[in-house]
């Protein structure tokens, strides 16, 4: 003879469903709000109207274009740039001597700019932006 089994009703209490929903929402919110804010801090000296002439002569000047990088007037490949700059900055202990003037062409991408400013900082240089002044021409 087969004995009938007792069917046990195992339902979660309905009163707790709102608490479960609340905890789930908080969980997903925390997951969503954690955005990676990793990156690179950069110290850029404040802009000066007219750079000191003496400083201009002794500090390395880098001109960045879309395809080449020009260091003190010499066009270089991306690979040789780091070693040349390391050589120029080696042995310089004063902060003023480590300043590297960076002039970028208007079509240079942020990705390329970040790569080269990173190389300058790795070599111990302090990036100073050389901005082109806007020239207003009045046409009669």
């Amino acid at each position: 003879m087969k004995l009938p089994r007792n069917k046990l009703l195992a339902e979660p209490p309905a009163g707790a469903s709102s608490d479960i929903a609340f905890i789930l929402i908080v969980f997903f919110l925390v997951c969503a709000s954690v955005q990676p804010e990793q990156g690179r801090p950069q110290e850029i000296p404040k802009t000066e109207e007219e750079p000191d002439k003496q400083e201009k002569n002794k500090n390395p000047e880098v001109e960045l274009t879309r395809t080449v990088v020009i260091l003190n007037g010499d066009p270089l490949t991306d690979k040789s740039f780091a070693s040349r700059l390391n050589g120029l900055l080696a042995g310089k202990r004063n902060t003023e001597d480590k300043v590297v003037m960076l002039k970028s062409r208007k079509d240079v991408s942020y990705e390329r700019w970040i790569e080269f400013t990173g190389l300058i900082e790795k070599a111990g240089g302090i990036v100073t932006l050389q901005l082109e002044e806007e020239q207003v021409q009045v046409v009669n």
């Binding site: 804010e37 690179r40 970028s104 990705e111």
Partner: protein, 134 residues
């Protein structure tokens, strides 16, 4: 003969507590979203050694369409320096960090004025980048 008054029970139903909490949560989320920039589309440039940003006061985004945003709201580049100066106020030097989230294909024309504005307002720049894959 004194007729006893019938006392009515007026309690807040405990079942509604979850709903109230839920609505409050949505309210605060919407408030927080107003200063958030997670809805903006931009792709970070890559670098090898990255640091975690801390104590940042503001974030400036240049998105895929080369538009500039301050704390998630569109702003003209000419107004950025003033707006940042107001935001940074008299904060300590260690608490003047400004996050810079620039789309990797943006050009000097777009991001150099932003860097200049942050620098002039006395902010400390922190470029937000992704880890370089080898």
């Amino acid at each position: 003969m004194k007729i006893p008054k019938r006392s009515f029970e007026a309690s807040v139903p405990s079942m509604a507590m979850g709903d109230i909490a839920f609505l409050l949560l949505i309210f605060f989320v919407i408030l927080a979203k107003a200063q958030d920039d997670s809805h903006l589309r931009w792709e970070p440039a890559a670098d090898e050694e990255l640091e975690q940003a801390s104590n940042y006061k503001a974030s400036v985004v240049i998105d895929v369409k080369n538009k500039t945003y301050l704390n998630g709201r569109p702003i003209a580049q000419a107004q950025l320096e003033g707006a940042l100066s107001d935001l940074l106020g008299d904060a300590e030097p260690t608490k003047r960090t400004v996050l810079l989230k620039v789309h990797k294909d943006a050009t000097v024309l777009q991001f150099e004025p932003v860097i200049e504005a942050v620098s002039k307002s006395g902010g400390e720049i922190h470029h937000v980048l992704e880890q370089e894959r080898k």
